[in-house]
Subunit: 112 residues, 2 copies
DNA sequence: TTTCATACCTAAGAATCAAATGTATTATAA
DNA sequence: TTATAATACATTTGATTCTTAGGTATGAAA
């Protein structure tokens, strides 16, 4: 499993972005979602994920409710208006960063 | 100056890639090159850069020679065959990572 | 009945970078 | 002419962020 180091700094953005898109998600679901979307290229470790979810909840960017599904307790997270602002602003930062990386590595443009 | 946190994990790749492309570069030149290429979106701090250059030199991925230009001493770095291998392999990892990020953030494809 | 998948969580440590600081030279501006 | 900015190297301290490893518990499959 490579690409471990590359995820540094992106985890929070990934989490907020995915929850923002799906309305509600639980932690374990996020790890699987990232695996599927990236075909295993990017892995989110639980040791990193849960502390970030708690931090975002603490910062009122996410709210959470427990639900019992098939005997298992899931903690569902939803984005707050506050969290929505963060998603929007970090999205432009991400695009700037990726554009920069493309210039450095001369890849084709990502976003138009 | 944003995007600070995003650079984590990429610095070594950036350094190797740029030196690989330009044949030889010195540290200060790298910081300026990144600024210009990315229009300020990405900044390489010297506190991070120099230790990485020394580390890569130590690992025999770079070799260095001092040259005096206009009264100023520059330390020019060149890539080694060893370093070339690292560039090649990390390049595919980078592409995988970026492809993954595009899937997550549904942006347009970077590489063909 | 044991193992795998699901689902939550925390603690300790490593890795990586930013900020600050330091030295020295040259060029520019006041 | 003298102060400041730009060039060019470097180190140290500390913060942030993740990995590794561990722990608990349930349900399904072998």
């Amino acid at each position: 499993m490579k690409n471990k180091k590359y995820i540094k700094g992106f985890l929070e953005d990934i989490v907020l972005h995915l929850i923002n898109e799906q309305d509600e998600m639980y932690g374990y679901e996020i790890t699987k979602k990232v695996q599927n979307l990236t075909k295993g290229a990017i892995a989110v470790s639980e040791g990193a994920l849960y502390p970030i979810l708690h931090k975002l909840e603490n910062e009122k960017k996410l709210t959470a409710t427990f639900k019992k599904v098939d005997g298992r307790t899931r903690k569902y997270y939803t984005i707050t208006p506050e969290g929505g602002k963060t998603v929007a602003s970090s999205s432009t930062e991400l695009i700037d960063f990726f554009s920069g990386m493309q210039q450095i590595f001369n890849l084709k443009p990502v976003v138009k």
